[in-house]
Amino acid sequence: MEQDDSASANDRAPGEHRDGQHSIRSYLLGFGLAGVLTLASFWAAQTGFVYAPAVPILLAALAVGQMGVHLVFFLHISSGPEDTNNILALAFGVFVVGLIVFGSMLIMANLNANMMPAGQLMQM
């Protein structure tokens, strides 16, 4: 463990704990927050209380929030200087994910809009 302590001044791996006493609280807090956000998502999906067209945006916000809770409290990703490498890799991952998902949706929506209706296609 001596080697571990000297290294943690420079770099920190994801999921690494500083000390045992502090972390159980972080897991409990993360578990509670994630549970509340999950229940809020399921409530938002079937309630008539929220303006219906806004529900998908609310669901997306709750999901992103819960992913953040998991990253911070379970995977222990922080914004500290020793976490720079992990954050950079995460940022690149999020960038690629966004590119693939939104790029695909945009391109396919465009193709659908430009597609000839099926009836006309048959007559050609």
Binding site: Q3, D4, S6, A7, A9, N10, D11, R12, A13, P14, G15, E16, H17, G20, S23, I24, Y27, G30, F31, A34, G35, T38, S41, F42, A44, A45, Q46, P56, L59, A60, L62, A63, Q66, M67, H70, L71, F74, L75, P81, N85, N86, A89, L90, F92, G93, V96, V97, I100, V101, G103, S104, M105, M108
Partner: protein, 198 residues
């Protein structure tokens, strides 16, 4: 704690613990990129039902809530297990690993019974593009969870036979990273597939 005054170029390589877990973190991110391609396919195909059943007709939210609860709780017990690993207390590790394993098994069981029900009702993966995308996305996640359960069994066998060597502890901590990452993917699955269906 002040950073050491040694320049970055003279510090030498990082410790094995840091290198191994950073490499595993990169693997997890690339795994999430794989899932993002499946999410993109699902998002594009979710309305292409070919006259077959649609999402809201097929999905039961009660079952999804139960699955979510199982996976979230197993993520928590896995985190507590990783604390016990750092204390090197074998008894606690076995206990929390058993809880994680049981909750993971309940999750996989619920998913398998859902798939079996869908296929029996004629809504199998060959019915429409929507169902192909659904089975691929949710099935890939379920396969990851199943493989994670096998990995957990192997790790418990290693703890029992060779004990808490640094190598075994690194693997156990990588396992807990894997398990937490699967829970993050599941947030996307239940939000987009089950709650977003309309």
């Amino acid at each position: 704690m002040d950073p050491p005054a040694v320049p970055l170029s003279q510090r030498g390589p990082a410790s094995t613990d840091v290198v191994v877990r950073f490499g595993f973190w990169l693997f997890l991110l690339s795994d999430i990129v794989v899932f993002s391609a499946l999410f993109a396919a699902y998002a594009v195909l979710s309305h292409q039902t070919a006259g077959g059943p649609t999402g809201p007709q097929l999905f039961e939210r009660g079952r999804t809530l139960l699955e979510t609860g199982c996976l979230l709780t197993s993520s928590f017990t896995c985190g507590v297990m990783s604390l016990a690993v750092q204390r090197r207390s074998a008894l606690q590790v076995y206990g929390w690993a058993a809880a994680t394993f049981a909750l993971g098994c309940v999750f996989v069981g619920l998913e398998v019974s859902e798939f079996a029900g869908l296929i029996a009702a004629g809504a199998g993966p060959t019915r429409s593009a929507f169902l192909s995308a659904f089975f691929t996305l949710v099935g890939t996640h379920g396969l990851h969870v199943s493989l994670g359960l096998c990995w957990l069994l192997v790790m418990m066998a290693q703890v029992a036979t060779i004990g808490f060597r640094p190598m075994v502890m690194r693997r156990l901590l990588c396992f807990s990273l894997f398990w937490h990452a699967l829970d993050i993917v599941w947030i996307g699955v239940f939000t987009i597939v089950y709650l977003g269906a309309r």
